[in-house]
């Protein structure tokens, strides 16, 4: 009898511990509110047309523009109208590639798609044990639609971003992102939206112009390294990352080449600069925001940066290829 009672009590105790542990894990991982889960689940299937404003505040500069969007599942078209600094540009994206037309230079740039990437980080926050918290509440009206507000906070309660989501379709109608000091550095907001646009012609999601120069990120990389100032060194596709864009940054007599790669694990940037880079200083500056790995070759310093674990970055640098054609 005593043994039976003891066994029942032990089972009950273990079960209670298990339930408490599960609840604690949920709190730690920040189980996402239902509307956010809807947004992530539906984001590849949305269909709408609309107009939105996008604004950045970085390095003391406010950059704002309006754009027109046509969306049908994985297909997306963005136009910038006839005015503003992106006048005439068109972006078309399907699940495989992104094409951007520049009328001034009559160029079409082909690069990896980005649509899912903006939600991929959010998804990783929702699933990973990073201590991110989600708070749901009634939101205000955006583009004449009622919304639910989701606040994303870190472990200490610092606000990371706010999303106003249409509870019927899961479309994010407004998204605001904040820097570590709580200042809003970027947002987009739909000004108008039609969530039942009817049939959208498939031709809207194709972009080819006879006579236009088609360029890829690797064309830009070859162009940047042809002059001899930089070495042709890159991550191959087998690394799981695809080259998205290449740019050069000038700083006080030194030039730095930046290659940005995208993959399912997020974005990584490969930097190349003549001279030294202080790894210790770099680590202090990037702590909590990204991981970095530094190496040098023939007087040139290379840095691989990303939000991946350092061990993963170490495995990637072993894959870096130097030489001629990829």
């Amino acid at each position: 009898m005593n043994v039976r009672i003891f066994a029942i009590a032990a089972v009950v105790a273990l079960a209670s511990v298990g339930v408490a542990q599960r609840r604690e894990n949920k709190e730690k991982s920040g189980e996402a509110p239902a509307v956010l889960q809807l947004a992530v689940a539906r984001q590849a299937k949305l269909k709408y047309t609309g107009k939105r404003v996008v604004e950045f505040l970085r390095n003391g500069v406010i950059s704002r523009h309006e754009e027109l969007l046509y969306r049908d599942g994985p297909n997306l078209r963005i136009e910038f109208g006839d005015a503003g600094k992106f006048a005439g540009q068109i972006i078309v994206e399907n699940g495989r590639e992104r094409r951007q037309f520049f009328p001034e230079t009559n160029e079409i740039r082909v690069s990896p798609p980005r649509r899912e990437e903006s939600f991929a980080r959010l998804e990783r926050m929702m699933r990973g044990p990073r201590g991110v918290r989600f708070e749901a509440s009634e939101g205000d009206t955006v583009a004449a639609r009622r919304t639910e507000l989701i606040k994303v906070k870190d472990q200490r309660g610092n606000l990371l971003q706010q999303l106003n989501i249409d509870p019927q379709t899961g479309l994010v109608l407004r998204r605001r992102l904040y820097d570590p000091t709580g200042a809003q550095f970027g947002f987009f907001e739909f000004l108008t939206v039609d969530l039942a646009p009817g049939k959208i012609s498939g031709s809207l999601f194709r972009l080819v112009r006879n006579g236009a120069t088609v360029r890829t990120p690797f064309d830009e990389l070859r162009k940047a390294t042809n002059g001899g100032r930089f070495t042709l060194a890159y991550l191959p596709k087998k690394s799981g990352f695809v080259l998205d864009n290449v740019r050069e940054i000038k700083m006080e007599g030194r030039a730095m080449l930046v290659q940005v790669y995208t993959g399912t694990e997020g974005r990584v940037s490969l930097f190349q600069i003549q001279g030294d880079v202080e790894q210790g200083r770099l680590s202090r500056m990037s702590r909590g925001r990204m991981s970095t790995v530094t190496w040098s070759r023939g007087g040139t310093s290379f840095v691989l940066a990303g939000t991946l674990p350092k061990e993963r970055l170490d495995s990637l640098i072993r894959l870096v290829v130097s030489g001629s054609n990829p």
Binding site: V54, F56, R58, N59, V61, S63, E67, L76, I78, F80, D82, K85, F86, A87, G88, Q89, I91, V92, R96, R99, P103, E104, T105, R114, R115, E117, S118, Q161, R175, L177, G186, F188, S203, R206, L207, V208, R209, N245, R247, E248, I249, K250, M251, E252, M256, V258, R267, S269, F271, I273, G275, V277, E278, L282, M285, S286, M290, T292, A305, T307
Partner: protein
């Protein structure tokens, strides 16, 4: 002096002045001067010089007329090119005093956060680099984006 005193005392009439011997002497001298009529050869040379000079001035007027608008156009074009040069992607400049390390951290963050904000649209780094002017042709001119299956 005596003659002057005499003249002062006895003023002469116009007729007397004209009939004075000195007047007669000048008249006689003028009459004796040779008659210099320009020769035909001299006139011909003068005409030729006038003709050449006229031709030269006409040429000068023509080139001034032809080149002045071009010079004005070239000046305006140079001013337009200087003030409104098409912006092409250029290397970004980092503020003086920024270290390489801070530039690396900022550059990567700009990339990641830019995509978070813009998604498939123009990211922050692209926004900072690319700015196209309005160059679209009028729709009636028929420049259409051709269609092709991707």
């Amino acid at each position: 002096m005596n003659q002057q005193n005499h003249q002062q005392n006895n003023p002469m009439s116009i007729d007397d002045k004209l009939n004075h011997p000195s007047q007669a002497w000048v008249q006689n001298m003028v009459n004796k001067l040779p008659d210099e009529t320009p020769s035909l050869a001299w006139r011909s040379q003068l005409n030729e010089r006038i003709r050449l000079e006229a031709k030269r001035r006409a040429r000068k007027r023509f080139w001034t007329f032809a080149l002045s608008p071009a010079a004005g156009l070239a000046t305006v074009s140079a001013l337009v090119a200087l003030v409104w040069m098409p912006r092409t992607p250029q290397a970004e400049s980092v503020a003086t005093g920024s270290s390489v390390e801070s530039a690396i951290v900022r550059a990567h963050q700009d990339e990641v956060l830019g995509v978070d904000v813009a998604g498939s649209s123009v990211s922050y780094t692209e926004s900072a680099r690319f700015a196209s002017r309005v160059e679209l042709p009028h729709p009636d001119e028929g420049s259409l984006i051709e269609l092709e299956s991707l």
